[in-house]
């Protein structure tokens, strides 16, 4: 499993009912269901990713979260996960408002990203942002500062934050001194 998913999984209480929006191949849910005793439900739009979930027995509902979240009843899930998905949705604010849970995203303020733009004058490509500008699904990239400003504006509170390194794993403690510059990504546990 990708290292950042381990960090995300660490913020999900064992045994909870988890909705993973943009669950991809179901790696995180597989882990949460089989190692954390969670009840998992995925939502995904890509046919190939959907099939990957079906084959491995991960419950997944086909839906495009850009066209509104699936009409699940309030309280049907304890935790909603938005792992490396927020930056790819058309209206991230609407998605955030509807969910309480775990959000992870790449930090566009990371020094490597800044350096590529500042020194080479090219759109940044990195391990966390591996796409060329013309093929990227990421249309709403933000920095850690941007994201926290949005939380404040929307009246959402982050109860936990985990910073990620280049490889997606937990960042070393000194990164917390200047997260917006030093963290390659971040994971937030949000309460409404």
């Amino acid at each position: 499993m990708r290292p950042d998913l381990h960090v995300v999984a660490g913020l999900v209480p064992a045994g909870s009912r988890v909705l993973d929006l943009g669950c991809g191949d179901g790696d995180l849910l597989d882990h949460l269901i089989h190692r954390h005793g969670c009840a998992g439900q995925g939502v995904e739009a890509s046919p190939e990713a959907l099939h990957a979930c079906v084959v491995r027995g991960i419950p997944v509902v086909q839906a495009d979260i850009d066209r509104g979240l699936p009409d699940f009843e309030d309280g049907a899930f304890d935790v909603v996960v938005l792992s490396q998905t927020l930056q790819a949705v058309h209206r991230p604010v609407l998605v955030l408002r509807e969910m309480i849970g775990v959000v992870s995203f790449p930090n566009f303020g990371h020094w490597r990203i800044r350096a590529q733009l500042a020194l080479r004058g090219r759109m940044p490509v990195s391990r966390t942002l591996p796409y060329a500008w013309y093929e990227t699904p990421n249309i709403h990239l933000c920095t850690i500062h941007d994201f926290e400003a949005l939380l404040a504006r929307e009246g959402l509170a982050a109860t936990r934050r985990r910073l990620l390194d280049d490889a997606g794993g937990p960042a070393p403690p000194w990164v917390a001194r200047r997260p917006n510059l030093l963290a390659a990504g971040a994971v937030y546990l949000i309460r409404g």
Partner: protein, 383 residues
């Protein structure tokens, strides 16, 4: 893809008799109840690999293989067989004609032992739960305690869903394909007109047409023609027929069959008469109109609480008989009761009929889902 199960035979079993009648939801008692069914593949030693196929409105027990002429195969032959989604190398597939049907199972054209006459419209009204009662009795007859799955499209999907609700945890999985948990006014309207065609046929005689030596063929064919329109998408009709003229280059200008689509519908109506009974058509369309398995929230909550049955809900994007919204409603109900569910909307140009056709994405989804369910139940992997 895959091969055939070869030659098969329809079997029969009397599942309910005078001493042990079928008690319907309505309280009515029915005996005897005989069921026609077919099986494909082998039941494993643990009796854990049974997959029950629930047929739709006009299906029958003959789902796969042939009865002697290899060119005339069962109605779901592309779906059932070695290497197919229901893989008879691993699964023991059972398909029974429905209660109220006319293809070997007790229905309105059977003789009522109380009167010595055919039931006709004196046959009791029944529900989808009653259909499930009979399926479960057949499982008892075959000594299968826990089927790996129940699978069905349209009315068949309704049975799979109802089974999962009526006997929580009994099924390993319910595969609910292009079904509905609550018909819309439009759905009911189409069925109402189809029934009126039958009821209004002068040869119907209040359902006792057989005694009069007649058949409401006009009405039944009309009902089938109307229904058949709802099974196809506009796109598939355009592709198949367009505005082509049947057997001619120029229109003949008149009221006889002229367009290819008219000829097709007429053929559908006429060929239907050879295999279907008008009274069965009335009962089996009515059972869908009244189907409302989530009507009682408390009962639904009890049925779904902690159920081990896994759910696959499928719809087809061009199906307008039971469009994707019907399937999403089922997903919403299940998810709101904390039941994990897998849902796909499959792209297919063929409308409601898609569930009977070989749509690759559809078949691989069913196969992949059943593999995962089978893995957990200890059914050997696909070869």
């Amino acid at each position: 893809m895959g091969s055939s199960v070869g030659q098969v035979e329809t079997q029969r079993a009397v599942l309910f008799n005078e001493d042990r009648p079928l008690v319907l939801d309505s309280g009515a008692r029915l005996a005897p109840v005989e069921v026609a069914y077919e099986t494909y593949g082998r039941l494993d030693a643990r009796r854990a690999n049974a997959v029950v196929v629930c047929h739709a409105l006009t299906g029958d027990a003959h789902a796969a293989g042939h009865h002697g002429d290899p060119s005339r195969t069962g109605w779901w032959d592309n779906f059932i067989g070695p290497g197919k989604p229901l893989d008879t190398d691993r699964h023991f597939v059972v398909c029974a004609n429905l209660l109220g049907g006319c293809r070997g199972t007790t229905g309105p054209s059977s003789i009522d032992p109380a009167t010595g006459r055919r039931y006709g419209l004196r046959f009791p009204l029944f529900t989808v739960s009653d259909l499930v009662r009979v399926h479960r009795a057949l499982m008892g007859h075959l000594a299968i305690e826990r089927p790996l799955a129940a699978v069905g499209g349209s009315l068949g999907g309704m049975q799979a869903l109802q089974w999962a609700l009526d006997a929580p945890g009994e099924l390993g999985a319910a595969l609910v394909i292009c079904a509905s948990a609550r018909l819309s006014a439009q759905n009911i309207a189409f069925s109402a007109v189809a029934r009126q065609a039958i009821l209004g046929d002068p040869d119907f005689h209040g359902g006792d047409y057989a005694e009069r030596g007649t058949r409401p063929d006009r009405g039944l064919a009309l009902a089938r023609m109307l229904a058949h329109i709802t099974y196809l998408s506009e796109e598939s009709m355009r592709r198949k027929f367009g505005r082509r003229i049947q057997d001619a280059d120029e229109p003949r200008f008149g009221f006889d069959v002229d367009f290819a689509v008219e000829s097709y519908l007429q053929h559908q109506g006429e060929s239907f008469l050879r295999r279907f009974d008008a009274n069965s058509y009335l009962y089996l369309t009515r059972v869908m109109d009244y189907f409302d398995p989530f009507a009682d929230p408390a009962a639904t909550a009890r049925a779904l609480h902690g159920t081990s049955t896994e759910f696959l809900v499928l719809s087809f994007d061009t199906d307008w008989r039971f469009d994707t919204e019907h399937s999403k409603e089922i997903v919403r109900e299940l998810a709101s009761h904390h039941v994990p569910v897998t849902f796909r909307e499959i792209a297919s140009p063929h409308g409601h009929d898609s569930f009977l056709l070989e749509v690759p994405e559809y078949h691989r989804t069913v196969a992949g889902f059943l593999d995962a369910v089978g893995r957990r139940a200890g059914v050997p992997a696909r070869r």
